[in-house]
């Protein structure tokens, strides 16, 4: 039996660019180049490693995004994924994480999966809740924020490093997992990988293909709405304590007023 691994990836604006918002307060895709979310590269990497450990596995990368999101799929394919699914429909524009999770869940059901691998969050919205939403919609267990993950027969196992404890977790397949940026460095596409990616299948799906009504998703169908955005205020100069013998006391007094001590 082929182990079917699906990786959910997101096409995000380059964080090193000058990111902004369009008139409708959605991400401005024109002003800045996009790329495969760096945190999703870790998910692709873990999926590939699980696939390489397995006798028979297939890695499908799935994205919901505009035309240019195919670049993110291409990158994942050049890293070594076998095929891609691109859900693209004008009516998806402006979908929040809840609407996006509905679309992704339908796409995953259509594609079929034993294991869904997600990054820990996107590098643009940084919601981090999509894996949980997906698991709920797909009615499968979720094992999130793993720094180590492996598949052993019909079970997915992993390690979650928390602030106060390290947990060893496992769940029966099918399941949804998310991996952190501690899970292992993502590979760079090799020349062979890049050339091979060109020939790999990319399935295009729209909302009709997934039996989703346009008003369930997009700006209209989202539960959350962005009212306003504002740039983070510039940093102001801090308090300068001149040490005239009582610097320590002044410092302690300052920290006390800020409730640090």
């Amino acid at each position: 039996m082929t182990l079917k691994i699906a990786v959910c990836v997101k096409y995000v604006p380059d964080a090193t660019g000058d990111r902004g918002f369009a008139d409708d307060l959605t991400t401005d895709r024109e002003a800045v180049d996009g790329l495969l979310s760096e945190l999703d590269e870790y998910a692709v990497e873990q999926a590939l490693r699980i696939s390489e450990e397995s006798d028979d596995a297939e890695v499908t990368v799935v994205t919901v995004g505009p035309d240019d999101a195919k670049d993110a799929l291409r990158k994942a394919l050049s890293m070594g994924a076998d095929k891609a699914v691109h859900v693209n429909d004008e009516d998806i524009h402006g979908s929040d994480v809840i609407a996006t999770s509905a679309i992704l869940a339908k796409a995953l059901e259509k594609t079929g999966f034993d294991l869904v691998v997600c990054g820990m969050a996107s590098t643009d919205g940084t919601m981090g809740v999509l894996p949980a939403l997906l698991a709920e919609r797909l009615n499968v267990p979720q094992v999130t924020l793993l720094s180590e993950v492996s598949v052993d027969g019909e079970t997915v196992k992993g390690r979650r490093d928390g602030d106060s404890a390290t947990e060893l977790l496992e769940a029966p397949l099918p399941a949804v997992v998310s991996v952190t940026d501690q899970s292992g460095e993502a590979r760079y596409p090799s020349f062979k990988g890049i050339m091979a990616a060109k020939k790999k299948p990319v399935e295009e799906l729209d909302l009709d293909d997934l039996d989703i009504d346009a008003d369930e998703v997009g700006l209209a169908g989202s539960w959350t709405l962005v009212d306003a955005v504002a740039a983070r205020p510039a940093r102001t100069q801090g308090t300068i304590v001149t040490d005239e013998g009582d610097g320590g006391k002044q410092l302690a007094a300052f920290l006390a007023t800020q409730k640090f001590i």
Binding site: R74, K75, S78, R187, Y188, P189, S190, F191, K192, I194, M195, A197, K198
Partner: protein, 388 residues
């Protein structure tokens, strides 16, 4: 045609390759570039990173376990590594230089035996043509190979051998018939572990300090006759044919180094403030940057055109003037690299003159591209003899 007009631009795959190598170079090679230069040590981190991502010898054909990259893709790999570290760019560049004689003229057995380990990253490959008294006049070499039954016995000294001591394999040109001058030279694969092979002290160089340059001593090195690359007496022709292709890789190195210097200087002039504004706002600075970018782009276009010719010649085309283009690209790009790196230092002023900033290293690294694989004076001789 419209937006898909594909002349004079690399393919989407070439752009993706550049993106991948740039990311790797910035994360895994750049952080060590200053230390490699300062400590005169081999850039092991770069070798490890390149091997891990199958970028150390991309030119090796797929039939021998390689990535099978075309000449332009190979140029892009070398260029992007050189952009952050000239010494490290000699890993992919010299792997191609050393092994190309085998690729071009070697028997199937030689290819299978030596290209496989190179492709896997188990062995590097160096090129041994020059000698103490045979530089530009390479055909004046003295290293001798004498037949002894099923063996050849090599004796002599090769000088300026890049990555000597690190590489497992060496293409060595040696005289097999002293009466025939260039037609009496043959090429051989010599292994580091062959009895009688030893290395001189590392040269104390101005630049590319991370890439060891040493003499190779051949003292009664007895190797099986099937280590000869191609037929007896064809070694010099193979050596020259190799340089037609690999001069393009030196051009790649030159434009990579120059791009690194230009990128650094561009960032600096936006940050550096004098008279109350960034110095990038002064037209005198802007004109310098414009000239640097213009020359660099011209060098890049010539290099890529030469790379495309190199690829077509490899595929069997006989209609290409690669000899002219290879020499022109190498000569022009290396002269540009020298000008651009010197101007980059100028843009950084006193800071550029210190080893706390990378542009002086880039200038020192650029200098060698005007000298090796034929000085730029020799390139002009080659061009003049092969005018288009």
């Amino acid at each position: 045609m419209g937006k898909d007009f594909d002349l004079y631009r690399p393919s989407e795959e070439h752009d993706m390759l550049r993106e991948s190598v740039r990311a790797l170079a910035e994360a895994k090679i750049a952080p060590f570039a200053a230390a490699v230069d300062e400590e005169h040590r081999f850039p092991q981190e770069a070798l490890d990173a390149l091997v891990a991502n199958d970028l150390h010898a991309v030119h090796v054909p797929e039939a021998y376990g390689g990535a099978g990259a075309d000449a332009l893709a190979t140029v892009i790999v070398i260029e992007e590594v050189a952009r952050v570290c000239g010494s490290s760019s000699l890993i992919p560049a010299v792997n191609k230089l050393g092994s190309l004689p085998v690729v071009l003229s070697g028997s199937e057995e030689l290819k299978a035996k030596y290209l496989g380990p190179l492709a896997k990253g188990d062995a590097m490959f160096s090129y041994a043509l020059s000698e103490p008294d045979a530089g530009s006049d390479a055909a004046g070499m003295k290293t001798r190979a004498v037949r002894d039954g099923d063996f050849w016995v090599l004796n002599g000294v090769k000088r300026w051998i890049t990555n000597a001591g690190v590489s497992e394999y060496y293409t060595v040109m040696a005289v097999t018939d002293p009466d025939k001058r260039s037609k009496g030279i043959s090429a051989f694969v010599v292994e580091k572990s062959d009895a009688g092979v030893s290395f001189g002290a590392p040269e104390k160089k101005l630049g590319i300090k991370g890439s060891p340059t040493r003499e190779v001593y051949l003292d009664n090195v007895r190797i099986p006759a099937d280590r000869m690359i191609g037929a007896e007496g064809t070694g010099f022709a193979t050596a020259m044919k190799t340089l037609d292709h690999t001069r393009v890789t030196i051009a790649a190195q030159a434009i990579g180094i120059a791009q690194g210097a230009l990128d650094y200087a561009k960032g600096y002039v936006r940050e550096r403030k004098q008279f109350g504004k960034p110095i990038a706002d002064f037209q005198g600075i802007q004109f310098m940057l414009a000239d640097m970018a213009m020359k660099l782009e011209a060098a890049r276009q010539l290099t890529y055109a030469a790379a495309a010719k190199s690829e077509r010649v490899s595929a069997g085309s006989e209609k290409e003037d690669l000899t002219f283009f290879g020499a022109a690209a190498k000569c022009f790009a290396s002269d540009v690299a020298m000008e651009v790196t010197i101007d980059a230092i100028q843009l950084l002023g006193g800071y550029g003159y210190t080893r706390d900033y990378p542009v002086e290293r880039m200038m020192r690294d650029a200098k060698i591209t005007q000298i090796y694989e034929g000085t730029n004076q020799v390139q002009r001789i080659v061009m003049a003899r092969n005018l288009p």
